[in-house]
Symmetry: C2
């Protein structure tokens, strides 16, 4: 069954890759419209999932699962927003003449068939369909059992648009069985599927990477740091650190550890920590932090390696820029890290030496996001180093080919 | 042992990434010089491998294995040639302002630690060391047992340069044991190694991809086509096809199948096939080909899926451009394919619809090569779609990070 879906997607790929921007945008417009037109059907199917979930999961989980007319309108708007984004396909990334006079063009093309393995949030279904369609990729979706009825409903509505435009239905595949067996089978089909993107918790991602024979782009955890340098504007530092921790602590780009330069620590820490504590943040500090501010819990080695995803913060006083950089490279997860400083020399050294996907001067790590970056969309945030690093949008869902024009050129 | 090498490389990475272009070029210059200075030592060690190989392998194999003063001079020259290539590291790939005024720079950085698993040719050792050094990557080398003494000698000479420049020796790792056990162990170290590039036969590449937990960039086979369109300059077509097949048939970018448009087939095929046969090429043709030219062997389904790597050629007459494109996408290996035509409309359709890493108008597929493209170096030719496709040179050995400058920006 999964093999059939994968073969169907592989066969559909070349006709999808050949669609014009106009055709793709028309399909996106119809999808956006059909989502809203069918909101009652989708909400009804979603109710089935909610009924099963009741009592079994946390309220946060159920909140992520629930679809209302409003949520479906948001999904419909996201689909429509893709229309305005420029089509990456066909872009000449660069061109040059070879020493022997060949004209070589490096042209952006779709990757091929992308499998998405995801958990709980049903809006992922429509997001991924939209992003893959606009970037010319076939998609195979495999959502979790908790949201299976919602996902199936969204898939049904969106894929019905394809037939209206005589696009092969293989362009969107949906694995309707939710056993692990299907995932294992899917991850073996490296002859048909080019890329797997798991979207969900660390457990899911580790499992997928372990068994997949297809390349995987991982969206792992973020142990993000803000380092308050001795030359920081301390009011700015306070606002940025507060935002990085408190604005949405459950996300991968929230700050988990705050590093503070020793020279300004007794000036900065008392106010900052009191502000955190008033907001309900549990602060855990190194010995020096606890000397400066009473009532701070002790932070141990393990704290500095933990992604809390919660209102908990580790604090460490460091003696200089070098110690801050080394701490981040050693304990961090190479996701997003910031320095707050007015000293451009210190900033440049930090930004160069910190080995993370996104490094900031004077800004919150929470800004690591496709929309915030102005990419207009987001498939996720890659913590991998190959192919795509940091926010993944349309361009990161493409590859390239070389188109070469000769005049009878041969190899001598 | 392998774990120790990988950890050492991981630790050395950040100091290597931080070297200036000048420092890297000085090291390359010394490496180039030391190779030549030590040619006697290398040739002596190479003799040990040659002694073991005698009688066991083909003369082509032994030719690839053998090192002379001249070959070592070529290796030394390749090392020196890297000095003149521009350093990809630090390049601003693009920069823009986000909607909220963040300055975002996408900057080229090294990948990290790259493992190369290769067979027989000892010059791969020095090539990979040079390419990885210039692109700021640590390298772990694991060559085959047939060339172990040669490889070890080259490694010894080149790594001795590192200490002269106080660069941590972990920058170059060398697996001196050649059991399969070490390879398996290496391919499990995804916490320390970022990328594996197998260089060798199809068997090696399949085995590595099957067991690796580290991303692999594959350099698979090439079933390359030249399609002679009805509007081709037939003299040009003859020269290009001859070059694509005969100039070096054992390479992945040599032509394996020639497609000929029916409308010009009886004009083109007799001369062309006779030229091939005179050069010792065994021609295997479809039914129509064999009708037009007597003495051609029959080609079956399997022929069109075979990478001969030899003076053998499949020929197929096709009724039009569309059949040619479909044949290539179905039977080819998405490596390099060419159309010979003076008709720009036909060319554009071919170049767009053929789903290969390199597509040519009026040029030989043999030109798929880092040097021919003017990249100045080559790690190999990727047949993968992710991260790198087609010729891999310095730029393809890099990734990027986002460097973001704010003014106290926070997430609203």
């Amino acid at each position: 069954m999964v093999l059939k879906l994968a073969k169907r997607a592989r066969n559909a790929f070349l006709s999808l890759a050949d669609l014009s921007t106009k055709q793709k945008n028309r399909i996106l417009y119809s999808m956006s419209k059909k989502l809203l037109d069918n909101w009652r059907f989708i909400v009804r199917e979603n109710k089935k999932d909610l009924l099963k979930a009741r009592g079994k999961y946390s309220s946060a989980f159920i909140d992520r699962l629930a679809l209302s007319k409003n949520r479906i309108r948001e999904m419909s708007e996201s689909q429509k927003a893709l229309i305005d984004l420029s089509d990456p396909i066909g872009e000449i990334i660069k061109q040059w003449r070879s020493p022997t006079g060949l004209l070589i063009q490096k042209i952006r093309v779709p990757i091929g068939v992308i499998a998405i393995i995801y958990e709980s949030r049903p809006d992922v279904t429509s997001d991924c369909i939209g992003l893959c369609l606009k970037s010319g990729n076939c998609v195979i979706l495999r959502g979790g059992s908790e949201a299976i009825n919602s996902n199936k409903a969204i898939y049904k509505v969106l894929s019905s648009v394809l037939t209206d435009y005589s696009v092969p239905e293989g362009v969107i595949g949906f694995v309707s069985k939710t056993h692990r067996k299907e995932v294992r089978e899917l991850l073996r089909l490296n002859n048909y599927i080019d890329l797997v993107i798991p979207r969900g918790g660390e457990g899911l991602i580790r499992e997928v990477s372990r068994i997949s024979r297809i390349p995987v782009i991982k969206h792992y955890k973020g142990i993000c740091h803000v380092y308050v340098h001795q030359d920081a504007n301390l009011l700015m530092a306070e606002d940025v650190c507060f935002n990085a921790k408190v604005q949405r602590p459950g996300t991968c780009n929230a700050m988990e550890t705050m590093l503070v330069d020793k020279k300004i620590s007794s000036l900065f820490l008392p106010r900052m920590i009191s502000r955190f504590q008033k907001a309900g943040v549990e602060v855990r500090g190194c010995a020096l932090t606890r000397k400066i501010v009473k009532g701070v819990f002790p932070a141990d080695e393990q704290d500095f390696r933990t992604e809390y995803l919660d209102l908990i913060l580790s604090v460490k006083v460091v003696k200089d820029l070098n110690e801050a950089i080394n701490h981040i490279n050693e304990y961090g997860s190479h996701h997003s890290d910031a320095i707050i400083t007015a000293n451009i020399k210190a900033a440049v050294e930090f930004l160069r030496r910190v080995d993370s996907a996104c490094v900031y001067q004077n800004a919150s790590t929470r800004l690591t996001d496709g929309y915030q970056f102005g990419m207009g969309a987001e498939m996720g945030i890659s913590t991998d180093r190959l192919h795509a690093r940091g926010p993944m949008a349309l361009e990161e869902l493409t590859t390239y080919k070389y188109v070469i024009y000769g005049k009878g050129h041969i190899r001598k």
